[in-house]
Symmetry: C2
Amino acid sequence: MKYCFGVDIGGTTVKIGLFTTKGDLLEKWEIKTRTENHGEAILPDVAESLEKKMQERGIAKDEVEGIGIGIPAPVMDDGVVQKTANLGWGYKEVTREMKELTGLPVAAGNDANMAALGEMWLGAGKGRKNMLMVTLGTGVGGGIIVNGKPLVGAHGAGGEIGHICVNEAETEACGCGRAGCLEQYASATGISRLARRRLEKDDSPSSLRGAAISAKAVFDALKEGDTVAGEIVEEFGRYLGYALTSIAVITDPAVIVIGGGVSRAGEILLEYVEKYFHEKAFFANQDTRFVLAQLGNDAGICGAAKLIL
Amino acid sequence: MKYCFGVDIGGTTVKIGLFTTKGDLLEKWEIKTRTENHGEAILPDVAESLEKKMQERGIAKDEVEGIGIGIPAPVMDDGVVQKTANLGWGYKEVTREMKELTGLPVAAGNDANMAALGEMWLGAGKGRKNMLMVTLGTGVGGGIIVNGKPLVGAHGAGGEIGHICVNEAETEACGCGRAGCLEQYASATGISRLARRRLEKDDSPSSLRGAAISAKAVFDALKEGDTVAGEIVEEFGRYLGYALTSIAVITDPAVIVIGGGVSRAGEILLEYVEKYFHEKAFFANQDTRFVLAQLGNDAGICGAAKLIL
């Protein structure tokens, strides 16, 4: 039996998975991400953890096809990172360093792209070669799979769909410094913002008044028939659905996978997004399917493992 | 010496080029596109023309790496076309049929993607692996090169950038049936439309009044200092420049190549587009370069030849 490792490096923990090359996740575990001293211990810690696991299971090096690594930053095709927001790394040759530490083949990619690749391999995009994954969390992330491979781009910044402009009239600034980015309307924080704006507009009754506003609260209220929550989700669906028509006409995915914390709202979220998508989508993209992500927090290790195969 | 053929099938003529595999265009010629009887003669005509050329030059079959074909329609990765607007073809297995006719390896792709691939190989995108080509003609076409290969997509419709929505307030319909598509503002006909709208708005003096309106007339008037023409080109530049920020944040090109008839206006066109691009571009895309296409009508045969290599 042949093995491979998928590693998902986050700002707090590193998730690691041991897979068969056929795609069975045999075991997963976590280690702490030590970001001090410019994160110099991160890769050695991972290498040590892999080494231990191989000893523990009696796996020989020549039974391991390699190690895939997902990183929360733009990653060039050659496995080089220019800088990271949460790991302490500046310029780092991730692939080269990890190869030297382990003696195994290594490939590295951006974490959003790895999540997309994971869903394609073992989750909601199974069997598809052209896929868009949208992650609705604190921000809006994107991973684009073209003919089975992640769209990395010239700066490792491919698929940064949270920062397409969807509202030129917006006056509040996005975290990126511009205004009107998709992320300002479709992320968890974006939905809260839409909710606050809507509630301030007039005093129509809503169960959202006086409560803590969150994307979850909005979807919960919607499910209980709250009219104002319905209007907020319509606005969210319109921004995201219309934006996805543009992304679809550019990248032509067979399936759009929606993941991230906001997607826990379930199928009802898809309804609102699909409605507006189909209203504006180019004819060639009308049969693009929408599905919820299936792998949750495991998507990253799955995609990283797939990257090395 | 090794050879390959690049074939660019258009609605009126088929352009053919004989290349060395190093990228020297040795000879190019055209044959008529016979679209009658569902275009059944097109591929046999091309095969016959290639055969004749090989005999004429004493080229043996095993010296030819293969034939690349560009087609004005969506083309799937396996060389299958579902339908064409101008060739008479319905469903057609282009790659398979051409292989049978010639006994040579064949690859086929969409003509806009082939033009992009051609500019990457021998033109304005030389040395780049991630590139966006924008063709401003009667419509707005796009070809996206990701890691050296065209982004084909699930339906062969990748890169249809003329149909991203850039103006939700638009009331006139686009050719695709929707409204507010980039093509309605940035194509030759789109620029004429912007010009007519601007001229009707008030009676400020302009050399464009009373003359035949065309994209060329607008750029010519701009170069002579016509204020109204300047306003029209600003509007064109704003629509195209802003749209390209969204396309760039999704596909992360190193270079954006502008071609097509409208691009004959020259470097001045790039100035207006770049200005608005840089105003809104995501930080990772700020160093994306803009260049004019270099291969003109040869881009298609060059890209088709590259596809087979």
